[in-house]
Subunit: 218 residues, 2 copies
Amino acid sequence: METLKPTPSPTLKRLPKYLEILHNLRETGVEEVSSMTIAKSLGLDSVQVRKDIELTGILGKPKIGYNVVSLIHSIRTFLNWDNMSDAMLVGAGNLGSAFIGYSNFKKYGLNIVAAFDIDEAKIGKEYYGIQVLNVNKLSDLTSRMKVHIGILTVPGDKAQEVAEMMIEGGIRAIWNFAPVQLKVPENIYVENTHLSSYISQIKRRLKENIYNEELLLK
Amino acid sequence: METLKPTPSPTLKRLPKYLEILHNLRETGVEEVSSMTIAKSLGLDSVQVRKDIELTGILGKPKIGYNVVSLIHSIRTFLNWDNMSDAMLVGAGNLGSAFIGYSNFKKYGLNIVAAFDIDEAKIGKEYYGIQVLNVNKLSDLTSRMKVHIGILTVPGDKAQEVAEMMIEGGIRAIWNFAPVQLKVPENIYVENTHLSSYISQIKRRLKENIYNEELLLK
DNA sequence: TAGATTGTTAATCGATTAACAATC
DNA sequence: TAGATTGTTAATCGATTAACAATC
């Protein structure tokens, strides 16, 4: 069996955007699409689009382009969106409880099967049909249900502790929203979504832009 | 006046992580810190840390390192976290309404001053002391209050329309959570947080990893 | 002074973009 | 056939990492 070469992160981030466009095209009955069409809608280079698509293992036809339906299928398979992946969510605060009801997750093949919290006040509450359980059941339930993805929406000071419980239960990928650097074994994949990083970018870009605009007014 | 050279995105994403560590150090009474200490806690290269810090305009002392309090101040000023930035939020669904109450935003200098929705059923509701207004008031209120940041948490099919209302009202940076490529004038900064991109990464990495592990078992 | 750490210049690496031959 | 578009090899670009002189 061949080792799967890691796909560049930028590619993995772009592929869902292609899907978005392809779904629209399919709905309007378009059957073939060129890399240039996709590139233009996203403001990208067409070579980049072709290289990304190539990685998913589909071949286009010179002069014609790619078959829309086949391309959708190829990308979805590559991203494993066709198979639902179960996930445990820990931290039923306002962010966490919002995620429980966020219907788009299912669209992307992510299914939250259970939610947990440390806070007695939250345990027993139900959001969108999912009951919040005591976090002391996390590890056991994770291994019994063979869940491999954990969504971490607890406050920073509990994040490391909870991550370790997740790993003990057999979690292999953690989607971390806590503003903390998790220390995990190297076979565990951590995807950090630090909202502070985005806010940094927005606020700094605005600052940079302000001066540039004043400069233009001279 | 000098034009502000755009800071590399990777740097802007790392700086908040340094702050997190520096705050912890300050709490435990540490006064000086070396680039290596910061680098180690985050699994980074110390040169990278020094270069990032240099961009914020502070100087360290050979043999000693950086003064923790000064460094915190320098990074916060650079990221403009000391000044509160007002933001309008449009789309009071489960994600949007969660953000209204998400206390960390204030910590990062982002203050949601008003929330809007198209849906009559949501208009008038109140979340964490903020009332949801009719989106037809968005543009007018934005320009009267001189708000420059918009948070977009509407469904994909309304996103472009709402983005245009934001821009009409004077919004200059849009934090977009809708799974859509926004078409905006080039002086408008769009920060995309497409949750689908993260899920792609997680699901694909897990797939890549599965095969690698099976390989190891041989 | 000697050693540790900074700041800076040079080398490397990975991803993007350009050039172009292959082909429907 | 001619033209458009793919797939691939080479060049460029930006960010990371390595090397090292300056200095407290």
